[in-house]
């Protein structure tokens, strides 16, 4: 029997989900195992079904939550913004009309869509997962092919459980060595994005591999895969291993008993074969990384916290130079300025990138017994009701409150600033979220992206700070 060609993990998942393969003339028809839905990008898709008299093909493969525009204030059940309230009501009506499971405001499972999928055990190795949200790449941490889609495609999946897709290329990001103390998964992915650039991953699925990736917890892997889109990649992937299986075992939607054993047999085959070829490869040394912060207006503009703001004059290409000049002007930074000690007014700990229990533990480890600097506002927004409960059981809410931080209800909050949580013009914030685009956290707001540890250090110092100085 002929030996089959070695295949990458991505190729295995892709081929298993082909309803029909692509040709020169037509894209592939790709089957979707799990469709996650939220209030902002779905109303117009349900409207398409209504206009055409279509039903949701597989409502039981569709799960909805409310996250983007929900208030995070305690006792938040009145949504004051009339437009947000109407959008939430429309999601409720659409889900009830089509028989779709919805974790509405007030439900014990409500939370950010990319936090609740994994914690409920909905996200599983080998799946195809889509959502009308670019950070769907988060679920790739489990060895699923997970990617963000637009609202027209949300309608396609609702109606047919399929998407038309051209096969993306593959990019291996191999991370050697180990992260040093005080350096986290967020620092790692910021370094990857800086290396690749904003479009470096375009048209590709990134598979993260190597000893530094294997050493990451599932929550850290989610942070890495989450920001794959910030390098322009379609998706990020990590081959499942014992850490993955341990995380999933016993989760409400994970297979049980015999089905679990069967699933394990399949899941253990979901690795890239030795000798499998990637279209491109990149190697990074984890041991060389340091706590990192962005200084500009996209996630690729980052530097070690102990570093300095780059000088636009050092760039040859006029468009890049102009872009950096504009970014520094927007951020209120001078070329050559040291980042350490740059004053900030707000710290946001939350978002689908860094709002899970381990993230909150990391932030709390620095804030325990310390105080937030005077005049700094700190928002801690857990990713889900479940994360919130678990954090409260450990007393993390007390740690945050005693330090002078606000302990909020779950949602996307200040990452996207749709729900009233936002920066004022000119305010500088260290945020554990994923985007520092102009105005992202509120018109005129200045965002410095960083890890939960670095964000907590900034909260204490009232300025960009090195968390290693505070680690006991």
């Amino acid at each position: 029997m002929a030996q089959s060609e070695p295949r990458t993990l991505f190729e295995k998942i892709w081929e298993a989900h082909l309803v029909s393969a692509e040709t020169e003339e037509t894209p592939a028809v790709l089957y979707v195992d799990l469709h996650l839905v939220h209030e902002v990008t779905s109303p117009q898709a349900f409207a398409v079904l209504r206009e055409r008299g279509l039903k949701v093909r597989r409502p039981e493969r569709t799960v909805a939550t409310m996250d983007h525009s929900t208030p995070t204030t305690p006792g938040r059940f009145v949504v004051e913004d009339a437009q947000c309230a109407a959008q939430l009501a429309e999601l409720q009506a659409n889900c009830s009309e089509h028989g779709i499971e919805l974790h509405a405001l007030g439900s014990e499972q409500q939370g950010i869509v990319h936090v609740i999928g994994p914690e409920m055990g909905l996200t599983q190795p080998g799946m195809t997962i889509v959502c009308g949200d670019s950070h769907t790449s988060t679920h790739g941490a489990f060895g699923a092919f997970a990617f963000g889609i637009g609202t027209s495609e949300v309608a396609h999946v609702l109606a047919t459980q399929c998407l038309l897709q051209r096969r993306p290329r593959t990019l291996e990001v191999r991370v050697e060595g180990r992260l040093r103390p005080g350096v986290s998964a967020k620092d790692l992915i910021l370094a990857v994005i800086a290396r690749l650039g904003m479009a470096g991953g375009a048209g590709h699925v990134i598979e993260y591999s190597g000893p530094a990736i294997r050493a990451l917890s599932m929550e850290e892997r989610m942070t890495v895969c989450n920001m794959s889109i910030e390098a322009g990649a379609r998706a990020g992937l990590i081959g499942p291993d014992d850490a993955t299986f341990q995380y999933l075992a016993g989760r409400p939607r994970a297979p049980r008993a015999e089905a679990w054993e069967e699933a394990l047999v399949l899941w253990r085959t979901l690795t890239s074969d030795p000798g499998a070829r990637y279209d491109r490869s990149l190697t990074i040394d984890a041991a060389a990384l340091e706590p990192t912060v962005t200084f500009g207006t996209n996630p690729s503009m980052s530097a070690p916290v102990v570093g300095a703001v780059p000088d636009p004059q050092s760039l040859q290409e006029p468009a890049s130079r102009a872009a950096l000049e504009r970014a520094l002007e927007y951020m209120g930074l001078r070329p050559g300025q040291r980042l350490l000690g740059h004053p900030i007014e707000v710290v946001f700990i939350g978002s689908c990138t860094n709002s899970r229990l381990e993230d909150l533990r990391a932030a709390a480890s620095l804030l325990r017994g310390r105080k937030v600097a005077p005049r700094v506002r700190v928002l801690v927004v857990p990713g889900s009701r479940q994360v919130k409960r678990a954090a409260e059981q450990e007393g993390l809410d007390q740690v945050f409150r005693e330090a002078g931080a606000e302990w909020r209800e779950p949602g996307c909050s200040m990452c996207i600033a749709m729900n009233g949580d936002q920066l004022r013009p000119g305010q500088a914030a260290v945020s554990t979220s994923n985007r520092n685009f102009e105005g992202r956290q509120g018109p005129g707001g200045r965002t410095f992206l960083a890890s939960p540890l670095t964000a907590a250090a900034a909260a204490i110092k009232g300025a960009i700070a090195d968390p290693r100085e505070l680690l006991r």
């Binding site: 298993a16 309803v19 020169e24 037509t26 894209p27 028809v29 089957y31 195992d33 902002v40 990008t41 109303p43 117009q44 409207a47 398409v48 055409r52 093909r57 983007h68 913004d81 437009q83 947000c84 109407a86 959008q87 429309e90 009308g132 949200d133 670019s134 963000g148 889609i149 637009g150 609202t151 027209s152 495609e153 396609h156 047919t160 459980q161 399929c162 998407l163 038309l164 051209r166 904003m198 479009a199 375009a202 889109i229 910030e230 322009g232 379609r234 996209n298 468009a319 890049s320 102009a322 872009a323 996207i416 600033a417 749709m418 985007r435 685009f437 102009e438 105005g439 992202r440 018109p443």
Partner: protein, 178 residues
């Protein structure tokens, strides 16, 4: 959807690289439940956006449309009046969204891109059947997925094609017991 054949228009130029969808339409304008009326919020955070309501072609810096998957970005551009976006590269999700809304994403070579950026308001002719863009007598060919091109030329959408695959989809579900 109206078929897209040829387009002749003057351009609007925004030369910045990596223009993300938060710039094209900020999140505070995503609270609606319809896809109409978003043109008035296009580049809402940019007082210096060169407004030209008669222009149908937007020329932008590389990696246009990166970031969020919000289709509102394509809806806002179309509602404003644009029918094509030209750059040296266009982000994946935005490109897919644009194609579904009759907004043609055109990636040209860097030499042509430089010429377009240097001439705001210049007239261009885009011929989708020929896959060409012409500026002041100079013509370049651009790549576009053949299926997307056919959908645009015919004014049809992908959903019809997918709905016609129901039998194959059902067979796949049966075979994989899903």
């Amino acid at each position: 959807m109206e078929p897209f054949k040829t387009l002749e228009s003057r351009t609007v130029v925004v030369a910045r690289p990596d223009i993300d969808t938060d710039q094209i339409i900020p999140a505070r304008f995503l609270k609606g439940t319809t896809r109409t009326g978003l043109g008035k919020h296009l580049f809402a955070g940019w007082p210096d956006f060169p407004r030209d309501e008669g222009a149908r072609v937007l020329v932008a810096g590389p990696n246009f449309g990166c970031g969020s998957s919000r289709e509102h970005a394509a809806w806002a551009l179309v509602d404003y009046g644009f029918r094509a976006v030209v750059s040296s590269s266009i982000a994946d999700i935005f490109r897919a969204n644009a194609l579904k809304n009759g907004l043609l994403p055109v990636a040209v070579d860097e030499a042509m891109h430089r010429r377009l950026v240097a001439r705001p308001g210049a007239r261009v002719i885009i011929d989708l059947a020929q896959r060409t863009l012409e500026l002041e007598g100079a013509r370049v060919t651009f790549a576009i997925d053949p299926f997307a091109r056919r959908c645009l030329l015919e004014g049809t959408d992908e959903l019809g094609f997918l709905l016609a695959q129901q039998n194959a989809i059902a067979a796949h579900e049966k075979e994989r017991a899903c």
